[in-house]
């Protein structure tokens, strides 16, 4: 639903980069690889946390 706070595998805090990543790579048209490099998310375990995430709050909120 919300982006996981930490990487499942290594425990690095990834959520703090989510909003910028979402804005630049998902909403915008920047290359996700370049954005992640710039944000300092190095390992592929942390990268998949952001790349594969989908925010669902907007989808569920009408059924509250």
């Amino acid at each position: 639903m919300m982006v996981p706070v930490r990487c499942f595998t290594c425990g690095n805090v990834v959520a703090e980069h989510w909003e910028e990543f979402d804005e630049r790579a998902n909403e915008g048209d920047e290359d996700p690889e370049a954005v992640l490099d710039e944000l300092g998310v190095e390992r592929y375990c942390c990268r998949r946390m952001l790349v594969s995430h989908r925010d669902l709050v907007d989808v569920v909120s009408p059924y509250q």
Binding site: R6, V13, V57
Partner: protein, 249 residues
């Protein structure tokens, strides 16, 4: 241990560093790694009392998210095992509740990252909660783990044996970590992890330097790398002293 003990930094940063330790046994190097991951106490939220939660997520889910937010950990000795620090959060929608909205009752314990989204709140939704942070060890719960991706590998020594035969094709030779060349420490990322870039046309061989380990340490922001390593060494020392006392006649 007879070999000279020595520490040298390869890369330094607040949250990420690489350093070389010489003159320790593999067992000690691993002991240090394990102490960094599991034995250094850090603060984290452990209990949350919800006053109002009308968001789309359950109380338990939000409590987990709050627990995973790294908190700055006060100097050693400032807090003992059963001490708690209360943090409160009160955010009304529309908007997002961030870890930075947590208000701490103690200036020493603050969220280390302020940009972690806790929950997205819509119109008329509200999150109000009180949370107790406790000081605990990584072996009890991953949220208390101060060291992230802590590891080490042998320092590698590269020696040039001579030139490659004239008509032989050059092959890439991938090495990762840090190499030693004439006493100089070079991270392999400097030559794209490929020895054939650094020694073109040369025949080289790579060997591990005995009892020299390059540690790679990152922290979650609870404290600096230097702090984490010294505290890990302190816990090792405390345990060794405890053992010594316990087995005395």
């Amino acid at each position: 241990m007879t070999a000279e003990y020595d520490v040298e930094f390869v890369e330094t940063g607040d949250r990420k560093a690489r350093f070389l330790v010489r003159g320790v046994t593999p067992a000690f190097a691993n002991g240090l790694r394990r102490a960094m991951v599991a034995d250094v106490p850090t603060m984290a939220i452990d209990e949350v009392r919800f006053i109002e939660n009308s968001s789309v997520m359950f109380d338990e889910q939000l409590a987990l998210r709050l627990g995973l937010v790294p908190l700055s950990t006060p100097p050693e000795g400032e807090f003992v095992d059963d001490d708690t620090v209360t943090l409160s959060i009160d955010v009304e929608g529309p908007g997002t509740a961030y870890s930075g909205d947590l208000v701490s009752s103690d200036g020493l314990v603050q969220p280390a990252d302020e940009n972690v989204p806790i929950i997205d709140l819509k119109d008329d939704q509200r999150l109000e909660a009180e949370a107790d942070a406790v000081i605990e060890r990584g072996k009890n719960h991953a949220k208390h783990q101060g060291g992230v991706a802590v590891g080490y590998r042998h320092l590698q020594r590269v020696t040039v044996d001579g030139d490659l035969p004239e008509f032989e094709d050059e092959q890439s030779r991938i090495v990762r970590g840090v190499i030693e060349d004439d006493g100089e420490l070079i991270p392999t990322s400097e030559f794209d992890d490929d020895l054939s870039n650094r020694y073109p046309g040369k025949e080289v061989h790579v060997e591990d330097v005995p009892n020299a380990f390059v540690f790679h340490v990152e922290t979650d922001g609870s404290f600096t790398v230097a702090e984490l390593v010294t505290r890990a060494v302190d816990t090792l020392e405390a345990r060794a002293t405890e053992l010594e006392e316990a087995v005395q006649l």
